[in-house]
């Protein structure tokens, strides 16, 4: 019976963590390039041990017009490659600008990587023809000059991608490879919205809340049952 109470406590605890995840999804309902997180699951592996798995929904978010030449959205599979403080990061947040030194950087100043490394516009800026064009396959041109092509990569093992802030995922260097160009299209002047669906999140939230309530009731019954067993043999 005491065992039962521990199991119930565990359920109560994990439901709270699920609510944390759902709350974060709902808070990021308007975050550019955000990929929703799925509350963690437990499962038995082949060795009959319980393992915990947490996954992200890497599905496409809605692509909306922003009319800014340095905003880019990926439709299809793939991630932009950026250089984070502690290694390579991937993102679907294509809200880029040019830094003071001429590098193409993300919203938070991380350098965006191209096929030839960091992308520097400095030497290519042409006052006669300053139009930046980004082709569907990621090739960047200023006027007529070729700058570089964006490195669009896909994650090999999605489970090993760790979330960092700014809608980025940190990955090990051997965990990504170039995505094949037929699987994605870069859309210049567009941004990808968050892929959080409020209805699905509400559904999960209600379910989690009700599961919590069941566990709560269970604990109260167990408490009452233990109370009764403590009264057995009591002398009146």
């Amino acid at each position: 019976m005491v065992n039962g109470i521990y199991n119930v406590a565990r359920s109560l605890n994990s439901k709270i963590k699920s609510i944390d995840v759902i709350a974060n999804n709902l808070a990021n309902i308007n975050s550019t390039g955000f990929k929703k997180q799925i509350p963690f699951q437990e499962y038995l592996n082949q060795k009959d041990e319980i393992e915990v798995r947490q996954s992200a929904d890497h599905g496409q978010g809605e692509v909306i017009l922003s009319a800014n030449p340095l905003d880019m959205a990926i439709s299809g599979d793939g991630y932009f490659l950026v250089k984070g403080e502690s290694g390579t990061e991937l993102t679907r947040n294509g809200k880029f600008h040019v830094s003071e030194e001429g590098f193409l950087v993300t919203n938070t100043g991380k350098k965006v990587l191209g096929r030839n490394g960091e992308i520097n516009f400095g030497t290519f800026i042409d006052a006669d023809n300053p139009t930046i064009t980004i082709a569907k396959n990621g090739e960047i041109k200023i006027g007529e000059a070729d700058v570089d092509a964006l490195a669009i990569v896909k994650i090999e093992n999605v489970q090993a991608a760790v979330r960092t802030s700014d809608s980025n995922f940190a990955v090990a260097d051997d965990n990504y490879s170039y995505a094949s160009p037929e699987n994605f299209e870069i859309q210049q002047g567009y941004l990808e919205e968050s892929n959080v669906n409020p209805i699905l999140e509400m559904e999960t939230m209600i379910q989690t809340n009700k599961d919590y309530e069941s566990a709560y009731k269970m604990m109260r019954y167990l408490d009452q049952a233990m109370d009764k067993s403590n009264q057995i043999g009591k002398v009146y």
Binding site: Y6, D20, A27, N28, I50, V98, N107, F121
Partner: protein, 265 residues
């Protein structure tokens, strides 16, 4: 009990409030000449690793396994509000000092402290010294000074300013030069329809209207605000509903906390 979900929802509420503030500023400027609408951008906050409980009280298995950790986010933050430099409608005013840019480019204006700022508002006036100034009184750059016996002014599509004087002579006074930025949404909004150069906008590239990707100048027209009321209303509904859904999170967590407090009869 952890209050992370509550704080996460609070960050969501705060973000949506900011979103509504930006939208209401757009709506308030629906009739402002040359106004460019704003859009608030959001991104997620940092993530934390959280341990998932072991199967049983005595089971140390989960504590020893790295995979028994999950990542939980901490909510949302606003990353920037960006200007959207979409063309506004060009409206005829029949005033010869009103000029509108159809296409890319901004007018250059010299502030009283000498710094150059930029604007799309082409409702120019003549000051007491005969110079072209914005409605706020700042000088157009390069300066254009009108003689005092002017009958009419004509500003051509490429920006050159010609005047017809009382004695029937015509003369060219100069050219309205336009500036273009690689990343116009990186410009700093200074109020009064003025924009300042920043590191993220890049340095201005100067040029003549109608050439090399610059827009054309239309005399007798003004560019109205590029705010679309329908679009703003849709954005406002979305923001309000997003606010509401975050408040549901607060309610749900509160329910759960109440239950936790009632566990012991």
């Amino acid at each position: 009990m952890s209050t992370r979900a509550l704080r996460t929802a609070a960050s969501g509420l705060y973000a949506q409030q900011l979103n509504v503030e930006v939208i209401s500023n757009n709506i308030a400027n629906v009739n402002t000449t040359g106004f460019k609408k704003n859009k608030a951008e959001f991104q997620d906050l940092m993530y934390q690793e959280v341990q998932v409980n072991p199967t049983q009280a005595s089971d140390a298995y989960a504590a020893a396994t790295p995979s028994a950790k999950i990542q939980v986010g901490n909510g949302v933050q606003s990353s920037s509000t960006q200007k959207i430099f979409k063309q506004g409608d060009i409206v005829a005013t029949n005033n010869q000092m009103d000029i509108a840019i159809q296409g890319d480019g901004l007018f250059q204006v010299r502030k009283s402290d000498g710094t150059i700022v930029y604007t799309r508002d082409g409702s120019f006036k003549i000051n007491s010294e005969g110079k072209m100034v914005t409605s706020g009184g700042y000088l157009l750059d390069p300066e254009i000074t009108l003689p005092n016996n002017v009958q009419s002014i004509s500003i051509s599509r490429d920006g050159s300013v010609d005047v017809l004087e009382n004695d029937g002579r015509t003369s060219t006074l100069g050219t309205v030069e336009l500036a273009k930025f690689m990343n116009p949404s990186g410009l700093l909004a200074l109020g009064n329809n003025l924009y300042g150069e920043t590191a993220s906008s890049g340095a201005p590239m100067l040029g003549t209207a109608g050439s090399k990707g610059f827009g054309e100048i239309n005399q007798g027209f003004l560019e109205s605000s590029n705010v679309d009321i329908v679009e703003e209303m849709v954005a406002m509904i979305t923001a309000q509903r997003a606010y509401e859904i975050n408040s549901k999170t607060v309610k749900t967590v509160e329910d759960m906390m109440t239950m936790a407090n009632n566990l012991k009869t």
